[in-house]
């Protein structure tokens, strides 16, 4: 398996909400993929052009809290800027995250909407390295 082919995301079932799971060749790539899984709940990412970029920084005492912070920071930026993101890139150093998100202003005529995500939760929260050396990052998000 090449590094890039291990980067992917999926949704997993949860009673009332939705589980998001990112797999990546690196921890940072798993954070990217988890974010893409969350963004895909809100909008079909293929309908959102990466026309503008937003820088995001987070810091937390451990990887799991950092994942939740990262996801919630994306939600905050989208809500307050009235934009939707369709692409992200994360760099990690210890428990600091420098992220970039690309997207464009909300456009009801253009975007194919899903549902709003209220927040990332600590339910089924996990960031761990898998036996093959790749990484997994997941949690349940409240919709």
């Amino acid at each position: 398996m090449t590094a890039s082919s291990s980067n992917r995301w999926e949704h997993f079932p949860h009673g009332a909400d939705i589980g998001i799971r990112g797999y990546g060749a690196s921890k940072a790539a798993a954070f990217d993929q988890a974010a893409l899984a969350m963004l895909a709940i809100m909008v079909d990412p293929a309908t959102v052009a990466p026309a503008m970029e937003v820088a995001i920084c987070c810091e937390a005492p451990d990887d799991e809290l950092l994942l939740v912070d990262w996801l919630n920071a994306l939600l905050y930026e989208m809500a307050t800027r009235r934009v939707l993101f369709s692409a992200v890139q994360v760099e990690l150093a210890d428990h600091e995250l420098q992220g970039t998100a690309w997207g464009e202003a909300v456009a009801p005529q253009k975007h194919v909407f899903g549902v709003e995500v209220k927040g990332a939760t600590y339910t089924e929260l996990g960031v761990r390295q898998l036996p093959d050396g790749s990484w997994l990052a997941q949690c349940v998000v409240d919709v």
């Binding site: 949704h11 997993f12 079932p13 949860h14 009673g15 009332a16 909400d17 939705i18 589980g19 809100m42 909008v43 937390a60 005492p61 799991e64 809290l65 939740v68 912070d69 919630n72 939600l75 905050y76 989208m78 809500a79 307050t80 009235r82 939707l84 909300v106 009801p108 975007h111 194919v112 909407f113 899903g114 549902v115 709003e116 209220k118 927040g119 990332a120 939760t121 600590y122 339910t123 929260l125 349940v140 409240d142 919709v143």
Partner: protein, 476 residues
Amino acid sequence: MDTSLFTRTGDLRWEIPPHGKMRVPAIIYADEALIQAMDEKVYEQITNVATLPGIVEAAYAMPDAHWGYGFPIGGVAAFDPAAGGVVSAGGVGFDISCGVRTLHTGIRREDVEAVKPALAELLFARIPSGVGSTGLIHLNDRQLDEMLAGGAAWAVSRGYGTAADLERIEEHGCMADARPEAVSAKAKHRQRQEMGTLGSGNHYLEVQHITRIFDPATAAVFGLREGEVVVSIHCGSRGLGHQIGTEFLKKMAISASQHGIDLPDRELACAPIESPVGQSYLGAMRAGINCALANRQIITHLARQAFAEVLPQARLTLLYDVSHNTCKVETHQSDGQPRRLFVHRKGATRAFGPGHPAVPQPLRAVGQPVLIGGTMGTASYILVGTEAGERLSFSSACHGAGRALSRHQATRQWQGRAVIAELAAQGILIRSVSLRGIAEEAPGAYKDVTAVVDAAHHAGLAHKVARLEPVICIKG
């Protein structure tokens, strides 16, 4: 779930005796079919809630309980501050004070039928809903603080509704002891453009007609008549509540060990009521309640304007407004004496019985209206609180149907367009910005709301008064 996990202590009462770190029993109210269909995670989560410090009597789950985050959805737990009791952000949820209000219209089903498509279009056009939608009212910092302190009373003072509305809202439309200064600048920023928006997911505005009266005497007091039309609004505190929940979940997760709280799972993050974090959360959460009350009040105003254009003979008056994601200070009997408790209801509806002083005076003799939202294709119910509810569940009942299938499963099984067409054939008009949202909310993705309501009725948590069926649904 495997029913052998429980001690059955009544037809509809399933008890998990204290074991391990549980301080009190956990009790689920449900019939056998509901408990068998219930997610095993409800067992795990309600058992975990029973381990939290200062919990009183029992951790309860309502008949619509399902897997939540921290607390199960449909969870009720009361904590005594004098016994080291805690407050939990996960026990309230991200959508602080999400709730339902139902309005009379004074008109009949046939009056709506004549203008149904026009009314649906107008309501959809006037009430902002869905991902990224913005309201027409933009608040500056000072106005936001006034709204957070004043709730629906603030909205009425700004011309959205009347003073009569306030008497039919929990807390008379204004949650006391809200602390706008405990709400972060980020939370306020997130709300700036979201006043008067419905949100998405399971939030809705429905025009419904009353198809059955179960309890004519109570229905008469509530002003409900078969064949008449009502409007129900289900939404919450929007971005502000979500941000408060996000921030305090983290603060509580980090500070739990400093408070000597051994969390069975991080998702149960909580803080002692008497701690600075606990007090700060309570102040912010109460401000979040006011935000939700103001939001539903503004949406009510928009609905009234839409009705006035199409059905000028309609008079939208409030039956009641009840929140189902809260932590409230209430006095309940425990160990034979009245105790001041912090009652968490996460996806559970307060259901005060006859004579309770918090019930509006014109309704007090019969009890509090308990508004249960169903699905857009089946039914919703109005129940009334009972005297027995006080000792059964700290006067709490279910809040909705509860999901049977995950959103993920629902989108595999249904398509939005087909759901809309199928409901249109049944005479129900759906308007939404999200076809996927419609698929996720397909009526078949939910448990049978009638079975849930019947279980609440037979368990004595609340009694059935009326059944409502949808005519128009504006889905977020």
